[in-house]
Symmetry: none
Subunit: 153 residues, 2 copies
DNA sequence: TATATACCCATTGACGCCCATATAATCCCA
DNA sequence: TGGGATTATATGGGCGTCAATGGGTATATA
């Protein structure tokens, strides 16, 4: 499985360390399993992150936007300048950068949400509320996991 | 037969393990017979699942969406974090993820229902009640297998 | 020097992996 | 085609490993 999937709730210890979920670690490239990049989620009150190699992909996507558009400016500012490279220790733990931790209002527990090619880190209650909202929106739009997962080409 | 069909009632042992029905295992791709993905059924109090290969297709599709669109966000949010990849051991058994187990109110026995391209896992009594209800509803609507099987497009 | 963090080592409970058995299904050969 | 032998499936249990977590000490940085 080379995708960030599922959800994990991990404790933050007295030193501020938190375990990066084992299954997430396995998604990171073999060449660099000890570093991730973190940044503020643009649309939500959460931290977003991915492996370093994904950064290049993001750069490409942003580069494809109209160079003179507001979006280009906004995205490149809010993403690149906000990125915090973060090291993962031998036990698979890392320190959540203080600014991001504050931004997401995380205190003593962190919820890790798999999002495919990236992941999000939430204050647990906020995370639950947010996914509940998503779930309801899906129901209203009559889309369900089943329709998406089982549809044939 | 590359479809999930028929119904099986399997016991959950002291360690929480349950056999994934042999005929279901044969539906999984030869390349990966030891992993399935599970998620909450949206419309019923049951667990739904399928092989991992579908997930990868979805990931590919989602990745092709506009990186900054609402759709990209919505899909990745509602799909990836809800999915629980689950390993099947050498004997064909697996652990039902606790959250899903609770959701379906499963305790010491699980009913596996083949649904074609996916399957469902029910608490046995709930499963029986649900299929009985379905049967009656079909009868009331005067639909029969024959109508469905013989209708032309 | 004070504070933070990198680097060790320890603990615990859960899980993966292995081996075992009973029953059911299948096969094979006379 | 019958009946014994072989194989497959569901199930039970032991044990080593790993993930998450806790904490001590050296090292760095300001």
């Amino acid at each position: 499985m080379d995708l960030f999937v599922s959800r994990y709730f991990n404790k933050i210890d007295k030193k501020g360390r938190v375990s990066f979920p084992s299954s997430f670690r396995n998604v990171l490239p073999k060449t660099n399993k000890s570093e991730i990049i973190l940044y503020k989620s643009i649309k939500t009150e959460s931290i977003e992150g991915c492996g370093v190699e994904r950064l290049k992909e993001i750069a490409k996507r942003i580069n494809n936007l109209d160079f003179f558009s507001e979006d280009y400016d906004d995205f490149s500012t809010s993403i690149f300048s906000e990125i915090v490279p973060t090291k993962i220790d031998k036990e698979g733990r890392f320190l959540i950068p203080p600014e991001l931790k504050d931004y997401a209002k995380i205190t003593n527990e962190a919820a890790f949400y798999g999002k495919g090619h990236f992941f999000q880190i939430w204050e647990p209650k906020n995370g639950l509320n947010s996914s509940e909202t998503s779930r309801k929106r899906l129901l209203n739009e009559k889309k369900s996991l089943r329709t998406i997962l089982t549809q044939q080409k």
